[in-house]
């Protein structure tokens, strides 16, 4: 995610940064202190197909850190879910699925057909994604 997101097609939104970096004021965290990179950029469709649910859960936690621009080691924002994993709100959950869909090259789900409970936790999301990817893999195999 970049400032003045011209690259994203949104267009130049804000004033260009001043040339002199004045001292004072809140500073941007150093790049190596936060989960770096565009969310999902390091993943491939093959990665998603080979990951176990546990690995998917770990990857989702990385995506959340990237979304929230915080260190991976920092506590994730959210409460524990009864399934033992981190609880997430629905908007964040949809963002995760959309990001992984982009990695996979196609929409992984139709939200109108998704069990809402699968969008409430990292565990639920991992299961949802795993099931969707398996479904696509099987349909390709059957063809």
């Amino acid at each position: 995610m970049t400032e003045n997101s011209a690259a994203s097609g949104i267009g130049k939104l804000f004033f260009p940064p001043a040339e002199d970096a004045a001292v004072g004021g809140p500073s941007v965290p150093a790049a190596d202190a936060i989960a770096a990179g565009r969310p999902g950029a390091a993943l491939s469709a093959a990665d998603l197909e080979s990951m176990s649910e546990a690995q998917l859960q770990a990857e989702i936690l990385t995506l959340l850190a990237q979304l929230q621009r915080r260190r991976l080691a920092e506590p994730a924002i959210g409460q524990a879910h009864p399934d033992g994993t981190l609880g997430v709100d629905s908007m964040t959950a949809v963002w995760v699925v959309a990001t992984l869909s982009k990695v996979y090259g196609r929409k992984l789900v139709n939200l109108s057909k998704v069990d809402r409970d699968s969008l409430r936790s990292v565990g639920g999301l991992a299961g949802l994604v795993r099931h969707a990817v398996d479904g696509f893999s099987q349909s390709v195999g059957a063809a």
Binding site: T2, S8, I10, G11, A21, A22, S90
Partner: protein, 308 residues
């Protein structure tokens, strides 16, 4: 006949007062104005808990029920905004301004990328309000970002007025335009907009059914405070109104923070305000809801053991 609901200080009180007033006026009223004087004030925990209990996602009498937060997210997806915790000002160090810009850009980009998937959800196939505001026409990224344009315009306005050391009574257009164009360092691509309001539907939209309920958001600057008026064609007072207020207040806070103005008031004009008696058990059903809302205790805060 139009109805003015006396101004309430919080979203919760404003919602309850409106529901009560319209209910006792027959259940449906035209041109109902609801005003929240402190949109950022903490919600009443008891009222919110009662509304949350009432709006369990699903269907009721054929009506789709969404949670308060789901409705609010259609107007402003708060969880995608990494609030830097400070407001913009013309004197902000570049690092700070950069952080604010980054938070906004991240929000717009994340939302734009997820919008096609979001539109597969029930009720979203025609787009979302935040989608229309941030990437018009609102079903995928790359559209016109009305919010970014208005942030840019308001920042220019603020810069201009701070130069004259007068942030009071800033009119949109008129004095504001002069304040903007009078600045020697205004960028050539600075945005001049004719209408500070946010459009959520196109004049060419000829749908007779499924037309967006929220049709316009107007922003006004007065005495250094940014206020918002949202116009709804049909305001569903139980299934949607509370979530709408939450979303609108979050949107207003975002715009105020990004432009450095204080938050003013939030007003909602419903051309038709509807207590949804047919969905919630008739007059007696709404009576019961009002009673429940008034008597639901606020949830305890686990950290403090006191009502929220």
């Amino acid at each position: 006949m139009s109805m003015y609901v006396p101004t309430a200080s919080t979203i919760s009180q404003a919602w309850l007062a409106t529901l009560d007033a319209v209910h006792h006026a027959g259940g449906r009223k035209v041109n109902v104005l609801t005003t929240v004087s402190e949109p950022e004030a903490e919600e009443d925990g008891g009222i919110r808990a009662a509304v949350d209990a009432l709006l369990i996602p699903g269907h009721k009498q054929g009506t789709s029920i969404q949670s308060v937060d789901t409705v609010a997210n259609t107007i402003f997806p708060a969880s995608l905004y990494n609030d830097p915790g400070f407001a913009w000002s013309p004197d902000l160090a570049p690092n700070g301004a950069g952080r604010l810009d980054l938070a906004a850009s991240d929000l717009f980009e994340a939302y734009g990328e997820m919008l096609p998937l979001l539109c597969t959800a029930d009720g979203n196939h025609l787009g979302t309000y935040f989608g229309r505001m941030s990437t018009w026409p609102g079903k995928k990224a790359g559209g016109v970002n009305q919010l970014a344009d208005r942030i840019k315009y308001l920042r220019l306005t603020r810069k201009g007025s701070s130069r004259t050391q007068n942030v009071a009574d800033i009119a949109i257009g008129g004095e504001a335009l002069a304040a903007v164009t009078d600045q020697p360092d205004v960028a050539e691509d600075a945005v001049y907009i004719d209408d500070i309001g946010l459009q959520t539907y196109a004049p060419t939209d000829r749908r007779l059914r499924g037309f967006p309920c929220l049709v316009h958001i107007d922003l006004t600057l007065l005495d250094g405070r940014l206020s918002m008026l949202a116009v709804y064609r049909h305001q569903y007072l139980i299934t949607k109104a509370y979530g709408n207020l939450v979303g609108l207040s979050r949107l207003l806070s975002f715009l105020a923070q990004q432009t450095g103005f204080a938050v003013g008031e939030l007003a909602v004009q419903a051309t038709l305000a509807d207590t949804e008696r047919s969905t919630f058990g008739g007059k007696s059903g709404i009576d019961k809801i009002l009673s429940t809302v008034r008597t639901t205790p606020a949830p305890l805060r686990l950290s403090q053991g006191v009502p929220a």
